[in-house]
């Protein structure tokens, strides 16, 4: 089943045409990787799905992005509801300068949950699902800024899970982590897949090959090829895809 469908999606930053006629369909409960060289528009595409591009001056979009059949690009879209449903993990882990506990309940609190027992349960559940509970259960009140980079990134994922999103957008979530930490985050992604649709942007092709079910290759704002990861990496249909994954440019 398709979770997100884009139809003839175009996006401009002032004069710069950053996304060109993107047609794609992202499946539910699967991991989709978007790969491509720097500046190809892969992060921009990701940021369309939770409308984070709205903060950029002079941005214009055209076309349709349907999430569960609903177009999220029109003016009637409630951004709070959208972002609750479509969460995002950033390149640099960005826990708030608050305690670990407050970081996780942040989303819940802004969406109106105030009961302490409820929040306690959510903290435990969220931390367990990112495998941090045992490490951190005794220091929930210490600052999140003291954690290691990997722990911070896990915490940021836990913070998302706490608001029960349906889609997780991950923008190069491992680019600041070492190989072991990267492997563990990838493991976590595979585990989360059964409950969420995950879209990951990465410039690391091995990572895309390891972790994703579907892959899209982007170049200069165009979605060149989109399909099963196994097919893209073994039998790409487009010459440019082949050249990229064999390392001829990028």
């Amino acid at each position: 089943m398709s979770k997100i469908v884009t139809k003839k999606l175009n996006l401009w930053y002032s004069q710069f045409h950053a996304l060109k006629d993107v047609h794609a369909s992202f499946e539910d409960k699967r991991i989709t990787a978007i790969i491509g060289p720097s500046g190809c528009g892969k992060s921009t595409l990701l940021r369309v799905f939770n409308r984070m591009n709205d903060f950029v001056d002079g941005v214009r979009t055209d076309g349709e992005v349907l999430i569960d059949g609903e177009d999220i690009l029109n003016g009637r879209t409630d951004l709070v509801t959208l972002r609750k449903k479509v969460g995002m993990v950033f390149q640099r882990p960005n826990p708030f300068p608050l305690s670990i506990y407050e970081n996780i309940v942040f989303g819940k609190k802004i969406h109106g949950e105030t009961k302490r027992e409820q929040l306690d349960i959510i903290v435990e559940k969220s931390l367990k699902s990112v495998l941090l509970w045992d490490e951190l259960k005794d220091k929930l009140n210490s600052s999140a800024l003291l954690l290691s980079l990997e722990q911070k990134q896990r915490l940021c994922i836990a913070r998302l899970i706490a608001v029960q999103p349906e889609v997780l957008l991950m923008d190069e979530p491992c680019s600041t982590l070492d190989p072991q930490a990267t492997a563990r985050i990838e493991e976590l992604m595979r585990e989360l897949k059964s409950n969420y649709s995950i879209i990951i942007v990465t410039h690391n092709m091995q990572q895309a090959a390891r972790v994703s079910d579907d892959t899209g290759f982007m170049l200069l704002g165009e979605l060149i090829e989109f399909g099963k990861t196994s097919e893209i990496f073994t039998a790409p249909k487009d010459r440019r895809t082949e050249e990229y994954i064999t390392g001829r440019y990028g």
Partner: protein, 288 residues
């Protein structure tokens, strides 16, 4: 030749650096020497806690409690007015205002900082003082409240610019993270931006208050200068600074009154010093 030139320039710069410290030390020593002399005639507790300031009666009564309370009252009043407005306007400038409004407001704040205090005092005297008199139906508008309002204007530019700086230096990805979780702009400001910049904002507040407590001219012109212990904010008060400024000209050099004024100087110095150190601690905490 080149080496000699280097040497001279280096020593010249060193001299400049040492000179500024040297002069500060000289001023401090002079202040101490003249000020501490007053304690030959009056005890420290009588000086700080004495209720009566009659420096030219016979024998002189040198209690500065009314002056300390006057300064504190005016400062607290100014803080209550200027902190919410100053921090609010910093939030608006840093987070909400469109680019053009940002420019206009920043220019406005800088302009406010550029007004000489005697001008503010004068404007306050002819506009604010009658207003306070009429609104509260008082015998005189020369009150602590008038001084507080006027000084709030003087503290605001400092508070706004330092607090805006603090907000601006909060990493952008905190804000992104909050928005990505579905936070509204206000929730992002209140729950993320303010906690993240709290030490910088506290420093802004301290620096603003430091400016208020050391201010002389405007308070002297509009607070009425009555050295009595104030019971409300609607009575005339006299501050530490105004006392020194007003009476130094008529004090006999080397007399008790003269020494007492220097001792007031020490008290003021201590207060400003503590405020600045606190502000500094907050600013450094932020950088770490």
């Amino acid at each position: 030749m080149r080496k000699a030139k280097e040497f001279i320039v280096e020593k010249l710069i060193l001299t400049c650096g040492v000179a500024s410290i040297f002069f500060v030390a000289l001023i401090f020593l002079f202040l101490m020497k003249e000020g501490l002399a007053v304690f030959k005639t009056v005890s420290l507790s009588d000086f700080l806690a004495g209720h009566k300031w009659y420096p030219i009666s016979e024998p002189p009564q040198l209690g500065i409690l009314p002056l300390i309370l006057g300064s504190i009252l005016v400062t607290i009043g100014a803080a209550i007015i200027s902190i919410p407005i100053g921090v609010g306007s910093a939030i608006y400038i840093a987070e909400i205002a469109p680019a053009w409004a940002k420019e206009v407001l920043k220019a406005g704040v800088e302009l406010l900082a550029a007004i000489p205090s005697v001008v503010l005092g004068f404007v306050g005297m002819v506009t604010l003082v009658p207003l306070v008199k009429n609104v509260f139906n008082l015998p005189t508008g020369l009150t602590a409240l008038s001084g507080s309002i006027m000084l709030a204007f003087m503290a605001m530019p400092t508070i706004v610019s330092v607090a805006e700086d603090a907000l601006y230096s909060v990493p952008k990805n905190y804000k992104e993270g909050a928005f990505a979780l579905g936070a509204t702009q206000w929730q992002t400001i209140w729950r993320v931006m303010l906690p993240a910049s709290s030490s910088g904002i506290l420093a802004a507040v301290m620096l603003g208050i430091g400016r208020v407590i050391g201010e002389t001219m405007a308070v002297m012109m509009i607070t009425g200068n009555a050295a009595v212990i104030p019971k409300t904010i609607l009575v005339p008060v006299r501050t530490l600074t105004a006392t020194v400024a007003a009476e130094m000209g008529e004090a006999v050099v080397g007399g008790e009154h003269y020494f007492a004024l220097f001792a007031i100087g020490i008290v003021l110095f201590m207060i400003s010093f503590m405020i600045n150190v606190t502000a500094d601690l907050f600013l450094h905490k932020r950088q770490r």
